[in-house]
Amino acid sequence: MAVDGGPELVQLLTPEGVLVEHPDFALALDDDEWRTRYEHLVMVRRLDAEATALQRHGELGLWAPCQGQEAAQVGAALAMRPTERIFPTYREHGMAYVRGVDPVTLLGLFRGTTLGGWDPAEHGFNLYTIVIGDQTLHAVGYAMGAQRDGAAEGVLVCFGDGASSQGDVAEAFVYAAVNDAPVVFFCQNNQWAISEPLERQTRIPLFKRAAGYGFPGVRVDGNDVLAVQAVVTAALERARAGRGPTLVEAFTYRMGAHTTSDDPTRYRTTAEGEAWRLKDPIERVRAHIVRSGIADAAWLGEVEQRAEALGEHMRSACRAMPDPAPASMFEHVYADAHPVIDRERQWLVTYLAGFTDAPTAGAGAGVG
């Protein structure tokens, strides 16, 4: 089992909460910045736990937990300028949080009451992508657009260790390399693609693949919020300067299930989970800020209260979301009116109107 990131792992804050130096990467934070990071991490873990619980209670169809990956997501998002675009998978709830997307909006997506849900331009945060690795190509295209605009702007695209085996990702690497696209390939290697361990995807550390495409690769401790921010910042600066893509492999661990529809106890050991728990991304920040006097017990308690309030907000707001009307499924298939859609919508509306008790679920729309 992969627990140790190896000698090339960039780390600035150890699992014990001790700051360490690295020859290539450094980042100094003031006290406020440390507290912000800690609070972000706590809030993200709480929103993730709340959403998982809501799914278990039948309030969401599905949830893709991000527990364990909070530092990777928060650190990378904080490295970016607000105007720079993030292309997420479906698990980047931590990045969504940093980018100001209301967690309740995320719930709407997984509850099936909204599609999309937020304005990508407003938040600099693209919509979640379900198709594995798909978004790497979109990010390269977007980055090439920024390049043509002459903008000193970086783009960050998320994917996972499983996606690294997809043809789309390989083609994105090729395309970004030959075009010097200003994109950071941010791979959260959480060790598992549903039941398949990293060994099923690669025989060399993922970051080393970058060399074969002709751009740099770095492996960073994905549970170290400081190191992730430092490494992604350097990669973005490289992109903004017109020097092309970087692959950042954030070495981390998916502490929960792939999604709420699978059971990780079927394919991995509790010993592995325990080993990773010792590398928890939040505990090390807490240890550091307490030991160095940046935070005291009272402030930590306030953060817990804010996290609890977020949980309550999510619970009540989630349950209050109204079901969309049946005919809403015909919206957004085409940009404009369409004869097939119009005919089927009309059929369904007429059919449903025939019920005296106005059901929310109708019979099939396809009779004709």
């Binding site: 099936g112 009451t113 997809q166 019979a363 099939g364 009779v367």
Partner: protein, 364 residues
Amino acid sequence: MSARRSPTARSGARATAVAPPPPPDDAAPTSPEPEAGPRTLTYREACREGIRAAMLADERVFLMGEDVGMYGGCFGVSMGLLEQFGPERIRDTPLSESAFVGAGIGAALGGMRPIVEIMTVNFSLLALDQIMNTAAALQHMSGGQFHVPLVIRMTTGAGRQLAAQHSHSLEGWYGHIPGIRIVAPATIPDAYGMLATALADPDPVLVFEHGGLYNASGELPAGAGAVDLDTAAVRRPGTDLTLITYGGTLPMVLEAAERLAAAGVDAEVLDLRTLRPLDDVAILGSVRRTHRAVVVDEGWRTGSLSAEVAARITEHAFYDLDAPVARVCSAEVPMPYARHLELAALPTLEGVVAAAERVLRGGA
């Protein structure tokens, strides 16, 4: 892998294949061993037992795909097979659909009998080039020198809140492609027995398992084994109209027939079983007896398999019809994620009954 290699580069007809070492001969179905007595199985178990029997019968058979090993498959079909057959024959793959389908083609060319599992039909689109431009075309492009005895299993269909990128019914698309055979088991004996015949087929066979059927249970009769892949099956004989369907909608259509029976209408239910080639004899024979037809297809209506069936009826049995053919299909939208919207988008029992009643009225 330890399997014997049988030459697949051949000249002349299949029967003249140059001394492939046994077992089995290319042309001989690898029938699973008949079981002693009837058993009640779920569809999922029947798929699994079909794989198990095929692997026991022929060491050239192996299974590969995402999560098929330790996890037992994302739909639980291969549960326990890794423990029985080991990682050489139950192979977890990287998340590389094009690679594992392409590798399956290569293994088949090298004399193996691969079963490739693609998690859902939507993911098969990543391997479409391998399926269509290679697997389906190689026999032709090699002048008959190569055949591709590859079986690809995949889950199709909606009803499980998996949204617009994991829920579609694209078997009708695949039915468009010459060079491959498309089957859709809807019953326990077919879920069990189609695989052996598919593996014995010298051409690629795509098996579409409907995700909504995995938990359905039924009886596997004593002596059940390989089944033919050429014919449709009358699942309920009737005289007043023919309800034509396949795969995941068969149980619902049978229920619709019972509801019609309660209203005095005797509906015949025809299960297509094989979507390419379609069993024209069975389709036209039934319609000529009942003079009315409703085609139920979870695919989208436009350009669908249901369109093909309706066109064939119109071409060959037009003067036997007492009413226009009706179709019940899914709404032509990306499959909604919200439960109630998904249900509203899918063919329903009420929709089938309503279509049948309209056809019985002469189509008005």
